[in-house]
């Protein structure tokens, strides 16, 4: 690896201060599972790495009924697996964490890293989109909030300005029974490249009525919400017709591309199939039907 400097600030204030002096060759280091190989392969040549794992503000996992769930950007994916609050209120996040990478990678890679790497196929980001996640950003001008949906601008591109850091994401509390499902296709079940995936989550409102969310992985330039499908699912009774129409909306929303892993055509064909499966899996968990 080429030489660079390394600092490990102990608070968000220290991070901010370092960022204020940062130039284009300064990188934020979270789990490093993406960044360090990029440096090793010579694709990024930083001068300074700012390790954010020691700043407490970026490492909290907190749940309150009023505020919902706060996930510090630097918490490892594995921490989602052990949190009882996540299990109870956001089981979809656990389902995704379980199929995310391998033990070692989950122990290092962070929620914030998965977001800021801005991969179109990022599984956890897709799941987070189903919870209306809001990003807390900190920079020279202080703090600002932006919805996750608007944070993602395409492959490798986010709404972060040069000297800003993602501090945490907040997921509002849900107020009812929450179930989720994530169906995806990869070359093998593990392995970190999702060719296409659809996350669906529902929160019970009253008998037979729920609020729905759907998001796509690998099917557009960033993980993407499908609000048209959500409307259909929320509009009335969940029957075969509604399921098909909602799944079709996933297909309509998909803007897949050809790459070395799969063709656009194949990805497009997967969108409605996976959407339908995720919807049915959610309905099954929620009401015991829809299979």
């Amino acid at each position: 690896m080429q030489p660079f400097d390394y600092v490990r600030p102990r608070s968000l204030a220290e991070v901010a201060q370092l960022l204020e002096e940062a130039d284009a060759q300064t990188c934020i280091l979270a789990g490093g599972t993406h960044l360090l190989p990029e440096i090793e392969l010579g694709r990024i040549r930083p001068r300074l790495l700012i390790d954010i794992k020691a700043a407490p503000e970026l490492n909290e996992l907190r749940y309150t009924n009023s505020e919902g769930l706060t996930l510090g950007a630097a918490i490892p994916i594995s921490q989602l697996l052990t949190s009882p609050e996540v299990r109870r209120h956001y089981p979809l996040l656990q389902e995704v964490a379980r199929i995310w990478g391998s033990v070692q990678v989950r122990n290092r890679a962070t929620v914030g890293g998965n977001i800021c790497q801005a991969s179109p196929a990022a599984d956890m980001v897709t799941a987070l989109l189903c919870f209306d996640a809001e990003c807390r950003i900190f920079g020279p001008e202080g703090e600002r909030w932006t919805p996750l949906e608007r944070f993602l601008l395409g492959p490798g591109r986010t709404a972060l300005k040069p000297n800003e850091v993602l501090v945490s994401v907040r997921l509002p509390s849900l107020g009812g029974k929450s179930v989720g499902a994530y169906r995806f296709v990869r070359k093998g079940k593990g392995g970190h490249v999702t060719l296409a995936g659809v996350a669906v989550r529902a929160v019970a409102i009253s008998h037979g009525v729920a609020s729905w969310r759907m998001a796509l992985a690998g099917l557009a330039s960033s993980p993407k919400r499908v609000s048209e499908a959500e409307h259909i699912l929320e509009a009335g009774e969940l029957n075969e017709h509604a399921i098909h129409r909602a799944a079709q909306k996933a297909a309509d929303a998909a803007e897949p591309i050809d790459d070395a892993r799969a063709s656009a055509r194949y990805r497009a064909a997967l969108a409605p199939v996976l959407a339908e499966r995720s919807i049915r899996a959610v309905a099954r968990q929620m009401w015991g039907y829809g299979a």
């Binding site: 690896m1 080429q2 030489p3 660079f4 400097d5 390394y6 490990r8 280091l29 490093g32 599972t33 360090l36 190989p37 440096i39 090793e40 392969l41 010579g42 790495l49 390790d51 794992k53 594995s78 990478g101 391998s102 033990v103 070692q104 990678v105 122990n107 290092r108 296709v185 070359k187 093998g188 079940k189 593990g190 392995g191 970190h192 490249v193 060719l195 070395a260 892993r261 799969a262 063709s263 055509r265 194949y266 064909a269 997967l270 199939v273 996976l274």
Partner: protein, 985 residues
């Protein structure tokens, strides 16, 4: 900078650079169990525990560990006491090369510390980040489950051999069923979530014992590997675990173009950098043409490579090398070499390369031994028996199908690595990760201009080979650099280089045309192969010869023809890969045979059984497709075959009849799923007849122990163990009394090397002969000591030489007597062996799949292989070979592929994007060893190492056909390929 860490309980302050990985710093501090597998961390070989959690030291900065607690395997064993996990890994045979074993043990520890009672699925998840290319994860999973039980204070059931009754009638090859009619359900239905106790039986394979098999003490028993202890403790044993003062680091500059002429190289800026000691390229190295395949003298042509050329022929081809004080300086210097290329048009597909007007890849005047280089044809091979045209005339039906097999890489977790230095006698020592130390010594000498006697090649432990190290690949570069700099030099390929700049498997286009009679007998079979040998010939000739031999030997047929062109293209170079041309042939043949059976409306197994080769049948095309000219020699005859029994056992184990049940094939509750079962018949070779040779020498020590020196190369396959077992059996001692040392060109007898499934059979026979000769000397000495007139009746048993009258002397007494007391001499013997035959092992391979017809995703649920490998000298290592081989074969069939952009650059030279199976993705695996007693092999042994590579792809294709009715003639069965086939697009 300084970091404070607690390593294995000791607080330390370490000096490191900010950019250094934790892996590098730990290794520098002497924690050699933490190993390099990939610069991007996916291999998991560099796993450690940090604050009790498993993390990859390859993708962590040492700086990130500041203030944390680190554990490595070195901490687990105090003195000679091992941790129960380590003991379980040894006992269950979970270790092959041992390169990633420390990482697996730590993964297990992290799990068991938190969860003392894990399910098998949890164990698999815990191991999922440590890639293993050798065991198929069967035995490591067993080991962890067993260790968990022991740590809980339970007393797990001991591993007992699982002996089954034969199904076919014993002693005959008539394929009739005996009375042990197959029950329809497997005996131990085990799901991947099954509890520990169900799975513990699987460390040992199931046996069908041949009644005539000899009763032995050490051979045929599940012995712990002789090298297990050092591997389980993570002791320094591999090439990279060896440090020398003043060692330089080498780095390759490789070609960014698929085809280009180098007009000029300007190295002045690189050479001017402080710390750079040498830059080598075509302008300053001698031009000596050679063939890089590690084969016997004279190496098969063409001689189409030189150490550094002024032309590059694939992306990844060598351009230059730098040796510098640190890897960083070397990497920087590489960037400062200015190369002027004239880019040429390139061709990648073997069929395109044959077309008129295709770019000519080898136009150099000193090219030697290529068939028609102007048309990119390296070799043209033809072989025939009878007259196929006449046969097609006579046939009732003629079928023709074309298949295509792709390019994959061997992926040893330890990449190629070599350290070279001048020893005190100014001889060049190459410590290298190779399968062929003796060939390397012979081949590297002329390139360096050094006499062979001034070169010593040492193969320490190596972290997997699978054929990719049957090559003289980087040793010439290291040799040149040592000679130019006078300093020790290390060159290690990184993962991307291992993919792009080492060796791979040959892609081929294979067309079978077969004539059959109405009642399903083969009358004529033609096999046409276009083999793609990439930029260089290396193993091109012999791999495609094996393709022809294997394609046209399994089934009897009066008229056969093999026509093959081996062509140059601009892809990274194919070479040897475990299986060596046979997996390609089997995919085409076993798919084609099923297509014919289907068209004839015949039962697949019946059709194959009717035609397959049986005991007493000649292998009629073999003499024309041998590596040594055997014209005029007698036709080789099948002496032993357990094929019928293998197929019967496999059918029973997989529940074959389910494939005809529509309700099973299409489960009503899962409308998008189709299930299917497929099979393939496999036949392989055992060593190259008349060519492969192994030597062994053995001597007795004062205490009655023995030093066994062999040239044979243990790649992790367990050959050291198997060879020591053979010596122990002959000499009547336990395994621990044999101290084996292998593959060091200065110290051990010659051996051709570890390839062609030859070691147990050839080197094993050499060891047996040497041990037998020594046994005679011991008997004679014992006779002298006991005052016997005739010592012929003395037998060796339990470390004693026992006279017929019951009196005895210990081997220690024999040794002391002969070394110190009377008529002193060293009792010792040397022997070697070369076999005129290559007795084929046989197998039945079975695969059960689920196909998701909406996504094209194929999930392999179960693989069963029943193998006739003769007498398995060590059933644990033998079944380990089968489990690991099948797993590699599954990757070949299902998901592994080298993907290129339009300029011929591989786009996925990294684990992950290049998908190899993980522990949590594995199907259930069952291995059956069907014994036969091969008269020409040591204690009845045949080969086992390569045959598991042969049948998975066709069995998978046949299973997918059974499930969906769609025939796919191209591998791998990636979701998109299957989806396209199902939706005809």
């Amino acid at each position: 900078m300084k970091i404070n860490v607690n390593i294995n309980g000791i607080d330390q302050t370490l000096e490191c650079a900010a950019g250094e990985t934790l892996l590098r710093v730990l290794r520098r501090e002497g924690y050699f169990s933490v190993r390099f597998g990939s610069e991007t961390g996916e291999s998991g070989a560099g796993a450690i525990l940090m604050d009790g959690e498993l993390v990859n030291a390859e993708v962590m900065l040492a700086a990130q560990a500041d203030g944390h607690r680190i554990e490595t395997v070195e901490a687990l064993s105090q003195g000679r006491r091992l941790h129960p996990i380590q003991e379980a890994f040894m006992r269950t045979g979970a270790i092959q090369s041992g390169y990633s074993t420390p990482a697996m043990i730590l993964a297990a520890k992290a799990l068991l510390d938190k969860n003392p009672n894990p399910t098998e699925a949890e164990v698999r998840d815990a191991l999922s980040g440590v890639l293993d290319r050798e065991t198929g994860y069967v035995k490591p999973v067993q080991a962890v489950l067993e260790a968990a039980a022991i740590l809980r204070g339970e007393d797990p059931t001991p591993i007992e051999p699982n002996v089954l009754k034969p199904i076919t009638l014993p002693g005959r090859d008539l394929d009739e069923y005996g009375d042990a009619a197959p029950p329809s359900e497997p005996e131990f239905p085990v799901g991947s979530d099954g509890p520990a106790v169900d799975t513990r039986r699987r460390a040992l394979p199931k046996f069908v014992v041949a009644p005539e098999a000899p009763d032995l003490k050490v051979v045929g028993k599940p012995q712990i590997k002789v090298d297990a202890l050092k591997l389980v403790k993570g002791n320094p044993a591999f090439v990279d675990d060896f440090e020398m003062r003043g060692m330089l680091h080498a780095k390759l500059l490789t070609s960014p173009h698929a085809h280009a002429r180098i007009l000029d190289i300007d190295d002045s800026e690189a050479l001017a950098m402080p710390g750079v000691h040498a830059v080598l390229h075509y302008k300053n190295t001698p031009r000596v043409p050679y063939a890089s395949g590690g084969q016997s003298h004279p190496n098969p042509p063409p001689y189409d490579q030189v150490s550094f050329d002024n032309k590059v022929r694939y992306v990844g081809d060598r351009v230059a090398v730098v040796a510098a004080e640190t890897p960083e300086i070397a990497t920087e210097a590489i960037k400062r070499i200015k190369v002027t290329y004239e880019v040429l048009p390139a061709v990648f597909d073997e069929n395109e390369a044959l077309k008129e007007g295709a770019p000519v890849i080898h136009d150099e005047p000193d090219l030697e031994g290529a068939y028609d280089p102007a048309r990119n044809i390296v070799h043209h091979i033809e072989a025939r028996v009878g007259d196929v045209e006449e046969g097609f005339e006579k046939a009732d039906y003629v079928f023709e199908h074309t298949y295509r097999v792709h390019q994959v890489q061997q992926c040893p977790i330890e990449p190629h690595i070599c350290i070279g230095y001048w020893d005190a006698d100014e001889r060049l020592v190459l410590r290298t990760s190779t399968q062929v130390p003796f060939h390397v010594r012979r081949m590297v000498a002329p390139l360096l201009g050094l006499p062979l006697k001034r070169i010593r090649v040492i193969k320490p432990r190596i972290g997997g080979g699978f054929g990719v190290k049957q090559e003289m690949l980087i040793e010439d570069i290291v040799g040149h650099l040592v000679m130019v700099t006078g300093r020790p030099v290390k060159l290690e390929l990184n993962r991307a280089e291992e993919f792009m700049s080492s060796r791979t498997r040959h892609p081929q286009t294979i067309t079978f045309k077969t004539g059959v009679t109405k009642d399903g007998r083969l009358v004529a079979q033609r096999m046409r192969v276009i083999g793609n040998t990439g930029a260089y010939g290396t193993h091109g000739l012999t791999v495609q010869i094996v393709t022809g031999l294997r394609g046209l030997s399994t089934y009897n047929c009066p008229n056969k023809e093999f026509v093959c062109d081996v062509v140059y293209t601009n892809i990274p170079v194919p070479g040897a890969y475990r299986g060596y041309g046979a997996p390609q042939a089997h995919f085409a043949l076993e798919s084609h045979m099923e297509e014919i059976a289907e068209a004839l409306g015949m039962d697949v197994v019946e059709f194959k059984r009717k035609n397959w080769i049986k005991v007493g049948d000649p292998m009629d095309i073999a003499p024309q497709l041998g590596e040594r000219d055997t014209e005029g020699a007698a036709l080789p005859i099948i002496m032993t075959s357990g094929l019928a029994e293998c197929v019967a056992q496999g059918m029973k184990a997989i529940g074959w009849e389910r494939r005809n049940d529509p309700n099973w094939r299409q489960p009503p509750d899962r409308p998008h799923i189709r299930r299917g079962i497929g099979m393939a018949v496999c036949m392989h070779g055992t060593a190259i007849p008349g060519l492969d040779m192994g030597g062994a020498s053995i001597k007795i020590n004062d205490d009655g122990s023995f030093n066994l020196l062999v040239g044979a190369t243990d790649l992790g396959t367990g050959s050291d163990t198997v060879l020591a077992q053979i010596a122990a059996e002959v000499l009547g001692v336990p395994l621990e009394d044999i101290i084996i040392y292998s593959s060091d060109t200065d110290m051990t007898p010659f051996d051709t090397g570890a390839y062609a499934s030859s070691t147990t059979y050839i080197s094993g026979m050499a060891v047996k002969k040497a041990a037998e000769e020594l046994r005679e000397q011991i008997k004679e000495r014992a006779g002298l000591m006991l005052g016997l007139e005739d010592w012929a009746g003395v037998r060796l048993e339990d470390r004693r030489a026992i006279a017929p009258d019951g009196r005895s002397v210990t081997l220690e007494e024999v040794a002391l007597n002969s070394l110190h007391h009377q008529d002193q001499r060293q009792l010792m013997a040397t022997a070697s062996y070369v076999s005129p035959e290559s007795p084929p092992p046989f197998a039945g391979q079975f695969v059960e799949v689920e196909v998701d017809i909406e996504t094209g995703q194929v999930t392999v649920k179960k693989m069963v292989m029943a193998v006739d490998c003769g007498v398995a000298i060590n059933p644990i290592t033998a079944s380990g070979q089968v489990e690991g081989g099948m797993t590699q074969a599954l990757g070949y069939a299902h998901c592994e592929e080298m993907v290129y952009d339009e300029n011929g650059r591989m786009v996925n030279p990294q684990f992950g994007p290049y998908k190899i199976y993980r522990a949590d993705e594995m199907p259930e695996i069952e291995v059956y060893l069907v014994q036969t007693v091969e008269p020409s092999g040591p204690f009845g042994a045949k080969a086992v190492a390569e045959i598991p590579k042969d049948g998975v792809a066709p069995a998978l294709a046949n299973a997918v056909y059974n499930a969906t009715g769609v025939r796919i003639r191209e591998i791998p069965f990636t979701p998109e390929r299957v989806w396209r086939a199902l939706h005809s697009c």
